[in-house]
Symmetry: C2
Subunit: 388 residues, 2 copies
């Protein structure tokens, strides 16, 4: 096991009706003037935004609204938010939505306390201070409600880039599974794929002696695999939605990833896909993860056999472990298909002829990507080709 | 799943040599004058205390020492610590030791900011404020380094009682597995039993629809069962010690317990045992947990069958699930024996004739104990008798 720091200070406020407490929670964390950040019309239509505003008013909290966050959130709106914060003396960011809204809020929170261009944080500079961010989650997927990171599409070039720092961890996150009842089956499945990917990026590691986190990764994946068909069959199954929602949070607050080298090559490859085609992140991951696995499996057959046996309940083939290893990847593909995910380029609308562009945008150059196997440009090209 | 709040703000600083950073961490959390709290001579003999003091001096942090904490920490030393804090203007508690030292430090931290008798917190009053507590853990067991609770033996009557509140969560905890290399096999096994008990108190619940936490509980137990024989066979097996140490922390910061009714009857019954006989808490739990399980198993045979199959790898007897359920309890007992734990009263030095005193000290009166099965005085008596 490697040395690590683990810090997850977010106050998670979980359950039915908890969004009505939002004003009290902002008070607790000292917010007086809030930027209320959200996406499209669904938060308005469902009445959620009205309930949020009622709670803010009841607690004498001033607020300015900034809606319009799109999936794969853009830098343009972030600049607008930063300008409002600076001009109006905003001291608290409230994100109402999914990972895109929360990531956009985090970018604004960091930019509001920074004299330079916020893009610096998305080009490698660590975020050391930011306005406090609170969230009300409406989509179980990205785990941004408990993470220290944020992903933004920088519009000049449509490059999807990430920033990180403890200052980006939300001070509170309100998670009411009922708010996810209306999420479409496709978006639900994208979210499920995203949270599984967050666990798998941590699971495939070269670090030895990490049994506790291995077992946690496997347990969370098994729970997701059990609960996913339930939410798709019955979108208002509270307990199933609750399990999926909580799984999405702990899949990405790093409790599954401590003390081990993590990979993240698949995320980087996917970011180029969704940056270029504006497809859903989860759908892109469904295409890229099995391709990555097929390519890197020979690097550690027993690791993939463990994945197959412990997560998917495959029988171990003791004479030919590589058969078991392959079976695990097949089971993942079958599962993704069963929840309605694409697993090939064409299903995404991506094109083989764009592979050189995808590889070029990632700019690995002489640098490699990932750590389970350190991928060169050539490796990355081959993995994209496996996904065609 | 039930509504819940989850809040674990402790900064966990894990790995080799990390105790040498302690002064920097106290600086980060604003400590200027520290009460350095520890137990017996082992922290002195191993040179740990000298390294801690060197780090404090290097960071210009003043400190006063208060050693002498005993296992099952007593109220007398807590009063002494509170008096020192008030007199000397202490603003930070540093606990160097195991759960007893940390619990004693938490009691002092709460008492130092309270005008009344600190015992109030151990008789039901919530702790709302306390001095910040940092810890350097030397024993993987109690989980106090990440928990919101503290257990103290109130010397007037030798009653072991607990206090809780978010203010008791340490601001940082330094966990270096190397510091546990010298822990004796018996104390190591007591710690392993304690952390398993912390998971099991949460696992046996009447709450339905908690698959994610079920799987996490099962995963952590499996990891402990795998790693325990390794640390006993080779006390300086770093990775095994590291897994056991981290398991002990997450077994009790409540990540395994969210959204569900928890039990804790066995801990209450054990507290009376270790209060009366001053035995190790883990050893008392090894005696009481199987007895509790045998008594309550008929309440939910399938829950115990799940425990047997998923945690212990038993084959499910689909015709007679109660056989599988019983097998799980037997496997737990066998495991406890294999790591050198007692499983009967006599092995502890406890006496059957004291059972009326144990029941009386627990004072359930008309109140019941636990939640999986709400135990009456009569039930508690029968469980103690099963442990004889």
């Amino acid at each position: 096991m490697e040395n690590f720091n683990f810090y997850s200070p977010t106050y998670f406020v979980f359950g039915k009706g908890r969004e009505n407490e939002v004003g009290e929670w902002i008070n607790r964390f000292g917010g007086l003037k809030v930027l209320l950040h959200y996406g499209g019309s669904s938060a308005v239509k469902t009445g959620l935004l009205d309930r949020v505003k009622a709670s803010l008013k009841k607690n004498n909290i001033a607020f300015i609204e900034l809606g319009g966050v799109k999936p794969n959130p853009r830098s343009g709106l972030v600049y607008e938010g930063i300008e409002i914060c600076k001009r109006e003396g905003i001291d608290f960011l409230l994100a109402v939505g999914g990972g895109s809204v929360i990531d956009s809020a985090k970018a604004i929170a960091a930019g509001a306390l920074y004299d330079g261009d916020f893009r610096d944080f998305y080009c490698g500079k660590e975020v050391e201070k930011a306005l406090p961010v609170g969230t009300i989650l409406t989509l179980a997927a990205a785990g941004s409600e408990g993470s220290d990171s944020s992903v933004i599409t920088l519009e000049n070039g449509m490059l999807k880039r990430s920033a990180a720092g403890d200052a980006l961890r939300p001070v509170f996150s309100i998670l009411n599974p009922e708010l996810t009842f209306t999420v479409s089956p496709y978006q639900t499945a994208c979210g499920i794929t995203d949270m599984m990917a967050h666990v798998m990026e941590r699971y495939f590691t070269n670090t030895r002696g990490v049994e506790v986190t291995d077992r946690m990764c496997e347990g969370i994946l098994k729970a997701i695999i059990t609960e996913a068909p339930k939410v798709l069959a019955k979108p208002d199954d509270y307990d199933a939605r609750a399990n999926i929602m909580w799984a999405g949070t702990i899949a990405h607050n790093d409790i599954c990833g401590v003390g081990r080298e993590q990979d993240w090559a698949t995320h980087k490859m996917e970011h180029e896909l969704s940056g270029l085609y504006d497809v859903a992140h989860g759908a892109g991951l469904a295409v890229m993860f099995p391709a990555w696995m097929k390519y890197v499996m020979p690097h550690n057959v027993m690791r993939f056999a463990q994945f197959a046996v412990r997560v998917w309940g495959c029988e171990m083939d003791f004479q030919h472990p590589e058969n078991t290893a392959k079976q695990g990847i097949e089971r993942l593909e079958q599962f993704l298909v069963s929840i309605g995910m694409p697993i090939r380029f064409a299903q995404l609308g991506a094109k083989a002829e764009d592979i050189p562009t995808l590889v070029k945008n990632m700019q690995p150059g002489n640098q490699t990507v990932g750590s389970f196997v350190k991928l060169t440009e050539e490796d990355v090209r081959k993995i994209y080709e496996l996904a065609v």
